[in-house]
């Protein structure tokens, strides 16, 4: 059946009628899939479609499924993560932090699976260990010197850590490698290194199951794509992909996925607020620090809500000027380390700017802590929802109300009725999929958790809403809902700032695009001037 399954020999791994249910609720239903050696199969699906469950079955975490898994043509029992690994199925999970051991060196982390095994010399042989690590790094061309290998793993950047985990999985010469959102924390340039590694795996005959929300990546890397929806495989395509069809299969929409309210991928068309488009002269793509500010073809729609003057975004870089207007969504694009998060956290008072002045609605604004920012109506949806936003074990409503308990309380006592009403509002306005406002946030899927965080910061209407990487690990449906709310908020007169490393995500929601590289503004443009290729060119030129 599978379009690419023409190679001789059995598939590396095949699934035969896999089904799974949790507490009476079917999550996977008769999923059959052959993954040929040396092929990259992309797995797409909205949050909650069953992707994680399928991955957990393959990695030996969920064992009570129906159906049969075959490895290399033989029936296989994946009763434990160890069994799965021994059968040659390696899984690289989405959260990088779970894969590395802080306090050990990069080299020790690289050979960790060997260290963790019971046999052999109980004493660490540093030299042998380093030699083995060196071997792995040269085989995979990671470009790491001994110095890097001897460093504590926590000193490595996030992309090097991701590569390390990948390299460790590859060092075992797996039959199938499952990659779950491997680029979700990486910028475009960093992702390139990972892609090179994936290409190499394919050439070595390793089968790859690639789970990602980034369509551009899949287009470039995958030989074949399958779509999971409501626990069933609904689409199976060989290259070249019919994206319209794939997205339709994924989102279960009658009309084409392109006909949505938000801006579509990669084009400066179909902007909902066409009135704001002013042609104007485009700013130079390499405008100097000071000239870039406000020099965009600013349409005279909203007044200036926030103005930054002489604010350094990264230490040792030229201080920047930037104005944010009310009534529009400003998108900031930049690679990891471009100063996006510094901008967001500085405006929110989480890490105050060292120098420079900021005005909010014409009045001085110098938040020393988030509480100051919130008082002035500046809200931040932080980059990492687990570490920086959600309170585990709490209900949806309690997570929403946390910053605004004072106004929900009388004489200190929390008014639970009003709190629950707030939770229901969030469910309604953002389309959160949850039983009710009492559901624990941990029961929700990633996209729905993100909606809860966004809903929290809309619970009291912000003057300025900052969204730092709001679409990371979020399915397309949730991304659209969040984008729509951001646009609606801007239409009501707030200033909205969206920061992301993904050009398409930013183009999808923003009226105006600012390109940030190494702490400096390289492009600030509206409308057709902020067209996709130009933004990408600007980023690549600034590297």
């Amino acid at each position: 059946m599978s379009p690419t399954d023409t190679s001789a020999g059995p598939p590396a791994v095949s699934l035969r009628g896999i089904g799974m249910a949790f507490g009476g609720k079917t999550v996977l239903e008769s999923v059959s899939l052959d993954i040929a050696p040396g092929s990259v199969v992309a797995l797409l699906g909205a949050n909650g479609a069953g992707k994680s469950t399928l991955i957990k079955i393959l990695s030996g975490v969920h064992t009570d499924h129906s159906g049969q898994v075959e490895v290399n043509g033989d029936p296989a029992a994946l009763q434990s993560p160890l069994a799965a690994r021994q059968l040659g199925i390696q899984t690289v999970h989405q959260r990088i932090g779970e894969g590395i051991v802080p306090g050990l060196t990069a080299a020790e982390n690289l050979v960790f699976e060997e260290l963790a095994q019971r046999r052999g010399n109980p004493f660490l042989d540093g030299r042998r260990l380093l030699a083995r690590a060196r071997e792995i790094q040269s085989a995979l061309d990671l470009g790491w010197s001994d110095q890097v290998l001897k460093r504590d793993v926590t000193e490595l950047g996030i992309s090097d850590r991701q590569l390390l985990i990948l390299a460790r999985a590859l060092a075992t010469s797996p039959r199938l490698l499952v990659l779950d959102e491997p680029t979700s924390a990486l910028s475009a340039a960093e992702a390139e290194r990972l892609f090179a590694l994936v290409e190499r795996m394919r050439d070595d005959g390793i089968a790859v199951l690639y789970v990602s929300h980034r369509l551009g990546e899949i287009d470039a890397l995958a030989d074949r794509l399958v779509v999971l929806r409501d626990g069933r495989l609904t689409e199976d395509q060989a290259k070249p992909f019919d994206w319209d069809r794939a997205l339709r299969a994924m989102l279960a929409q009658a009309q084409g996925a392109q006909a949505q309210g938000t801006r579509t991928r990669g084009a400066g068309t179909a902007r909902p607020t066409d009135a704001k488009q002013g042609p104007g002269p485009g700013t130079g793509s390499h405008a100097g620090a000071t000239s870039a500010s406000g020099s965009a073809s600013a349409p005279a729609s909203g007044e200036i809500a926030v103005s930054l003057r002489g604010v350094p975004l990264l230490p040792g870089r030229t201080p920047q000027d930037l104005d944010l207007r009310a009534g529009e969504v400003t998108g900031v694009v930049g690679l990891l380390g471009a100063g996006k998060t510094e901008l967001a956290r500085g405006l929110f008072g989480a890490e105050p700017f060292p120098t420079g002045t900021v005005e909010l609605d014409g009045r001085p604004y110098a938040p020393r802590r988030p509480a100051d920012a919130i008082r002035r109506g500046v809200h931040l949806v932080p980059e990492d929802r687990h570490a920086d936003a959600l309170v585990p074990g709490w209900s949806l409503a309690q997570n929403v109300s946390l910053p605004f308990l004072r106004s929900l309380s009388t004489a200190g006592l929390v008014n639970r009725r009003r709190e629950n009403a707030l939770g229901r509002d969030t469910i309604e306005q953002l389309g959160v999929v949850a039983r009710d406002e009492h559901s624990s946030v941990e029961e929700l899927s990633g996209g729905n958790q993100q909606k809860v965080v966004v809903g929290r910061w809309l619970a009291e209407k912000p003057r300025v809403l900052i969204l730092d990487e709001p679409f990371r690990g979020v399915d397309i449906g949730a991304r659209r809902d969040i984008g729509r709310r951001a646009r609606a908020l801007a239409a009501e007169g707030a200033a909205v700032l969206v920061l992301s490393a993904d050009v398409d995500e930013v183009l999808e929601v923003a009226d105006r695009v600012v390109v940030l590289a190494a702490g400096e503004i390289h492009l600030d443009a509206y409308g057709e001037d902020a067209e996709r290729d130009r933004v990408i060119r600007t980023i690549s030129a600034s590297v």
């Binding site: 949790f22 909205a46 929806r229 509480a371 585990p392 006592l413 389309g431």
Partner: protein, 348 residues
């Protein structure tokens, strides 16, 4: 607007009522197991030992546990912010000394002693807050440090001697004062037949419960314990609230000290030391009562009563007093199994 959502399926479906009977039994065991054990033991002691049924015995049991329970409430507050106050026993002991010193050496009335003791407790809490919040020392280590410092300070205050009415002081004079009648009534007096200390225990439990479970301040304390960085980014002054928890813990510990002073009737230098482990045990047992898996006020109060019932019951049964620690330790470990081992299996 939200039609796209209808296609989403929550990845994890919340356990509905229709789970397997075995699972339901297990979650019931986790939730009510400890209460069940308490009631069973209570019934067993009551049926086999007539003297256990006596209401005086029961009130005595409550009176006995009131100090550990009140100290445990303070530990519960500090556990809510993700820390733990190991200095509560020492602070209670300091309270005993300060009360004795105020009344016996300085010949002041009971009210002055009460205010002095509470002020000392608040001060000790501030010291903990300084070390933990400002100087960023891990909670347990910082409070272990203050525990020693406070115990030592207490000895320095009284030149290493217990303070008794009529004692000869270091300058050769005779101590002018004594424990006032009113002060002694804190532990020995009754209102409508209920010991005052038991009433204080009950009142503080209710106040602490309202504070922790119903007010926004309590909510914020729990938020800090569960995710401090998210709390900070939600606009919460994390340091101030953690300091508040330690000051309140110090004040509660000093109230425990007042009851202890009233009970002993003299400035015993060794008072309070045994209270620490009991208070921590009570708060830890409390996390498992009701299956909450997190520090909570009713759990702590019930945990204290449970430990009281077991010790009293076994004492009446003729178990020697020196086995008490073994029994209490076993109860604590059982409670920890409930709150960690069993409840973890449930959520896996």
């Amino acid at each position: 607007m939200t039609t796209t959502q209808s296609t989403e399926v929550p990845t994890k479906v919340a356990p509905p009522a229709a789970t397997s009977p075995a699972l339901r039994v297990q979650s019931a065991v986790i939730k009510y197991g400890f209460i069940f054990v308490t009631v069973t033991l209570f019934a067993y002691f009551a049926l086999s030992e007539p003297s256990f049924r006596d209401s005086a015995t029961l009130l005595d049991t409550l009176r006995y546990v009131s100090v550990a329970a009140i100290l445990g409430l303070g530990v519960t507050l500090t556990m809510a912010v993700g820390g733990i106050d190991m200095s509560v026993g020492a602070v209670a002991g300091l309270g005993v000394t300060v009360a004795a010193k105020t009344m016996v050496s300085y010949n002041q009335v009971g009210l002055v002693a009460i205010l002095a003791v509470i002020a000392a407790g608040a001060l000790a809490g501030l010291l903990n807050a300084l070390l933990i919040v400002v100087l960023k020392i891990p909670d347990m280590l910082a409070t272990l440090g203050t525990m020693f410092v406070i115990q030592g300070t207490k000895l320095v205050l009284v030149d290493g001697q217990s303070i008794t009415p009529g004692m000869t002081q270091s300058d050769g004079s005779t101590a002018p004062g004594r424990f006032t009648e009113g002060f002694l009534r804190i532990d020995r007096g009754t209102v409508l037949g209920i010991p005052v200390s038991v009433l204080i225990f009950g009142a503080l439990t209710v106040v602490a419960w309202v504070f922790l479970a119903r007010t926004r301040w309590g909510r914020v304390l729990y938020a800090i314990g569960a995710n401090p960085e998210a709390s900070r980014l939600a606009g919460i002054r994390v340091g101030a609230y953690r300091a508040l928890a330690y000051v309140l813990s110090g004040v509660l510990a000093s109230i425990g000290g007042l009851i202890l002073a009233s009970r002993i009737g003299q400035g015993d230098v060794s008072a309070g030391t045994s209270q620490l482990l009991e208070a921590v045990a009570v708060a830890l047992v409390g996390t498992s009562v009701l299956g909450r898996g997190r520090p909570n006020v009713w759990g702590t109060a019930l945990g204290a009563v449970l430990i009281g019932i077991i010790t009293t019951g076994l004492t009446i049964k003729g178990l020697p007093y020196y086995t008490q620690d073994v029994v209490e330790g076993a109860v604590l470990i059982l409670a920890l199994i409930f709150s960690f081992t069993l409840s973890k299996r449930r959520t896996a």
